[in-house]
Amino acid sequence: MMQTRPKSMHTRPRTAAITIDVAESSNRAEALVYMFVLALLITLLSSVAFNRVAAAVEPLDTSGRHPLYYKSLPPGAVWQSPAAVTMQQGTFQPVAFSGPAGTKFSLPLAGSHSEEEPELMAGLMVGAVYRFRITGIPNAIGAELYPTVELIGRIYPPRGLETLYPIPINLSESDLQEALDGNLVTRVVYLEDPQTAIPLAQQRTESRPIDIPLDQDALATADSFGRPVAIVRLGSKSPPRNPALSSQFYFGFPAWAPIYKPEPMPETP
């Protein structure tokens, strides 16, 4: 606001940083206008402030410039975010890998890899990053892929049903082909909300994903459908030749627990 100080008015000490002087000859209506404008200003600023509070309780807006997930986000960073400190690390969560016919999966074990299995199931530690190997890719003889899987959550089955309901890591043939073509394929696996589940029959090894474009946040999209539990990234085709880089490539070789299928009981006559 402008300061109006007529020359005829005697000077007064400034007692505040901002003063608005009105001439003595000003009438009452002018003063009321000033008061009204100030009250309007207070109302507007207050409403702005309340709107900010109301916006704060809304779901996090991820359509702007602060995505939760972006393609250069390194594996393991989601778990190490400050919002994740309340979660417990160290739980082994059964995870089942599956892919197109012919593919085999193996996890690093003692400097090499474990036995390749078409339907590998293993207990992975929640919060750790694992790099596994895919071989036997269809239409790509001899090609290998070294994707990473990062568990950012777990499930809570009743006791005794842990291995019956693992987190499925289902990869389709198009995933593998995209990775072999040099692209980075990111899959965010989420636990579906049964209230909003798609009413279509699916199998546990179903690998049909929901494709999203690059301008969408994969983690936030998965969160809108349920609870994200794992992030899989496919892109690496070969491990480093330098053995010194091996530990970094495999993220420190975190421990994992093998899960074997029970042998079928021989039928007794």
């Binding site: 003063t19 200003l41 900010r52 979660m87 289902n170 909300d193 994903p209 474009p213 983690l219 969160d223």
Partner: protein, 433 residues
């Protein structure tokens, strides 16, 4: 603040005090409540167990014993007891240890097989203190808000997917709705979001055009260019079409089938309808007689050294003695409704593609017969009703129609009334999607 401005004459010749603006700042700061961040939840962080609202039926200390009556067939109830089956009595399985039916605790006796089937608990049977996520369970039964109500045309409104209710007409003509217990199966289902990103985005290649590679003997000392691109070029604008990713919406439409509550307000004022004082705020002399009658009726309920029992819908005896109240004992019958409905499943957990058998038991536990019994069950989207798998041990008309969750809403209309102690049993099968 306005009062100050109106009363202070110095305002006209003077100043808007800086305190006014300071007050504005106080208002602004005051609006930034610390609770503003309470709503933040980082998508991607798992929901803490128990965060979701979930129907929590009571768990008895045993964990496996349901707080619902034991399941008996009609034949098991009637012939053995000549007297009227316990009116308003809730038999618990744990109280029936001596009963033959009590041997099969925590299970139902199927009419098809004599084998004891395990049943799915109304709430997930978990160890004490073990967390669980309700999203991993597939629940059916109960009555989620808005509550189910019978509309004018005998249509049941407010029957959401997952609800299972029975509504009936009593001898007095009242229509009541009773919800079943929820049945939860452990059946988590997973989905995946895929995003493919590469060097080509928006039909514009981002990368090296070429590298200068010298040809000649190695080890000359020429620094070769690194394979790592140190400069990241980002698109200023890309014509990326936003696609429709899914047609699902978490906000399910709330039916507005005429569930208007002002009818309840009418009931609340019904007792006062005979008094003009409600509207006039003064008592008419003609109302004194009504008040006197009420006072006499109130006194008639007082009797010294005697026990009285009040039964609903029975005119109280008129006593002329003057007495005072020395004690007040209130007896509550276990259930206001006269039908109890229970829903059970033969499995506690199910894989995708498994078949699950559900059974709905409806029993008259009141003191009079009920008629116009209609049992409605709306399945959740992940349960697919198997055609022609339903069976009802009483004559009933069975109809199905689709519901909002992409599954079906089943309805059984019993042809005959249920007498006291009689029961109806419905069985059907679903496949887990």
């Amino acid at each position: 603040m306005f009062h100050c401005f109106a009363s202070c004459r110095s305002f006209y010749r003077g100043t808007f005090a800086a305190g006014t603006l300071l007050g504005t700042m106080v208002v602004l700061v005051g609006c930034q409540s610390p609770t503003a961040t309470n709503g933040f939840r980082l998508p991607g962080t798992p929901n803490l167990p128990g965060m979701h609202q979930t129907p929590t039926p009571k768990l008895t200390p045993g964990g496996h014993t349901p707080a619902v009556p034991g399941v008996k067939t009609t034949a098991a109830i009637q012939p053995e007891q000549n007297e009227i089956a316990q009116v308003g009595y809730f038999g618990r399985l744990s109280d029936r240890a001596d009963d033959q039916a009590g041997v099969c605790q925590g299970c139902i006796q199927s009419t098809d097989a004599e084998s004891c089937q395990t049943w799915a608990p109304a709430t997930p049977v978990m160890a004490m203190g073990q967390p669980y996520d309700p999203q991993e369970f597939l629940c059916n039964g109960g009555d989620t808000p808005p509550a189910a109500r019978v509309m004018v045309n005998d249509h049941v409104g407010g029957l959401d997917p997952q609800d299972a209710v029975v509504h009936y007409t009593t001898e007095a003509g009242d229509i009541a709705v009773q919800a079943s217990n929820p049945v939860c199966l452990y059946s988590p289902r997973f989905g995946a979001i895929r995003q493919v990103s590469g060097a080509v985005a928006g039909e514009k290649a981002v990368g090296l055009r070429g590298t200068f590679q010298p040809v000649g003997p190695n080890g000359i000392g020429l620094t070769q260019p690194s394979l790592v691109v140190g400069e990241s070029l980002e698109l200023a604008h890309a014509d990326v079409a936003r696609r429709v990713d899914a047609m699902r919406d978490r906000n399910r439409g709330v039916p507005v089938e005429g569930i208007v509550q002002p009818l309840l307000a009418e009931d609340a004022l019904e007792i006062l309808a005979t008094l003009d004082a409600v509207s006039l705020n003064r008592l008419d002399e003609s109302q004194i007689a009504i008040l006197k009658q009420g006072a006499v009726a109130a006194q008639s309920w007082m009797i010294r050294d005697a026990v009285e029992v009040m039964i609903e819908s029975i005119t109280p005896p008129v006593l002329t003695r003057d007495a005072k109240v020395e004690g007040f004992v209130r007896y509550d019958f276990p259930d206001a409704g006269r039908l109890e409905i229970m829903k059970v499943a033969d499995k506690a957990h199910a894989q995708q593609g498994d078949e699950v058998s559900f059974a709905i038991h409806v029993r008259n536990v009141g003191d009079s017969a009920v008629s116009h019994i209609e049992i409605a069950d709306s399945l959740v989207g992940r349960l697919e009703y198997i055609e022609d798998s339903q069976h009802c041990d009483r004559q009933a008309e069975f109809t199905t129609k689709g519901n909002a969750a992409g599954s079906v809403r089943m309805q059984w209309t019993l042809a005959d009334p249920l007498a006291v102690g009689e029961a109806a049993k419905i069985e059907f099968k679903c496949r887990v999607r």
